[in-house]
Symmetry: C2
Amino acid sequence: MENKYAIGIDVGGTTTKFGVVNNKGEILVQGRIPSNEHDFIEDFIQELYAKLMPMINEVGGIENIIGIGMGAPNGNIYSGTIEYAPNLKWKGIIPMADLIAKKFGVPAKLTNDANAAAVGEMMYGCAKNMKHFITITLGTGVGSGIVIDGKIVVGHDGFAGELGHTIIRPGGRMHKNTGMRGSLESYASATGVRETAIELLTQFPDKESLLRNYTINELTSQTVFECAMQGDPIANEIFEFTGEILGESLANFVMFSSPEAIVLFGGLTKAGNLLLNPTRQAMEANLLPIFKNKVKLIFSELNESDAAILGASALVW
Amino acid sequence: MENKYAIGIDVGGTTTKFGVVNNKGEILVQGRIPSNEHDFIEDFIQELYAKLMPMINEVGGIENIIGIGMGAPNGNIYSGTIEYAPNLKWKGIIPMADLIAKKFGVPAKLTNDANAAAVGEMMYGCAKNMKHFITITLGTGVGSGIVIDGKIVVGHDGFAGELGHTIIRPGGRMHKNTGMRGSLESYASATGVRETAIELLTQFPDKESLLRNYTINELTSQTVFECAMQGDPIANEIFEFTGEILGESLANFVMFSSPEAIVLFGGLTKAGNLLLNPTRQAMEANLLPIFKNKVKLIFSELNESDAAILGASALVW
């Protein structure tokens, strides 16, 4: 095992990140390619191969690679397939693990991207030594990985842990990709924050706000954060609102699996206490007394792409 | 083990049921006492002892009893205590398993009542051979037991699986015991059905309904059921409404743990398809495509008290 390495690949909606990882969980070298520039999965894999092989050669060639672990949206650990992922270009059922194994000539495993991140968190991050926790990725969408008794929850079919799609505002905001109303993802994601901004600016046309200085395309969770830091009341209200909905959802999750901690990561966590405080308040307010003041609500110490690459590579060991 | 027996005790909000169970999962003899007639736990245990000992003597005396298993609201498997159960008279933390073990002189174990029922379902009921399922008890309240990979989910502190208290209508109906708004239990319980009936009858004072022939005290989930069976439109609407909320909640639970089946039991299931059809419809409508038409929604084949007694006794084996 001395000079053996694993490849970790994280297929995201926009970007695919990958790295060569040693058995201490160190990413020796990493890279990225866009996820959605190829209509055919074979062309995507070809580009991945072209970028990865030089890295693999840096560590002594493919014979030093034990295997490839991947995380992807709607990835299924049982079958190694990506099934009907709404945010990817390749439709239907993609036998990703098989295609990768053939292309590289080493064993390949695939799981859900959020589950891969949770494994990374458990092996190398702030959930080390925890047996019961939930990770929530607040990015373009909302992903989740659930760990119970030290094991990722995958359910009877491999698809468990889609907490971003649980309904928290029945009849509420329409989710464009799923057509469902009121799901957590339609509020507590970067996309959701942008929509909340547009809604509030439209709803109160006379309320002054720094956010009115931006064009509609410039309104992002990042601009909302910057304006909130300057004390803008609407921008602050956006994070209050987002945190309230997120916190209510987290309370529901706690009453399901009673975790020791909830680990938040992804772009939205850059908002820090602006998001964390209202989230914690709403979570505690909606918990039964037996759960109150027990659950740690923390930000990941790993950066997001590291967690996903490390978690994916951990499938190999 | 030939002539050895276990005692199963199910402490409910109103009634405590108990039985002597053999190692084939047959209840040889059973009885019941009210749960809430004694202010002091010691007096309750004394009555239980007085009723159980003759049964125990029927099977050859206490030396033939391997142990006592109990299910109770807010029961904790790690500590054997009942902690702050809102529906029981005894407040604070009750060391139930210890008290019972001392009184009877045999080992005693305690868990959450709904978890006990789930174990009964897994060992002797319609979830036999299933490794991933959720049981939902629709009684005076809403209880739940979650099984993942063949094991009851208890969480880091032993309190997991309080799905009746998850919020499905934020800001909605007030739950009298918890003070929380919009929890599943405030709608999809016998109490909730009665409240929905009163709300609808008050909201539409001119709408004819058989339910108006009953006094407010006579309005129960049972009378609503009887009127619905006679085609009463308001009574039918009550089950539609209840099923819709229950189904939405079930969809959320499915996206958490992706179970093979959800097993419903408790008094409300007497409504049969009146409840099952709208529940199934709302559940399917709120699931991501990858979960649709996969999850069995079934009624328990065990009667409720059998499931709980058997499940509690199974803690002993």
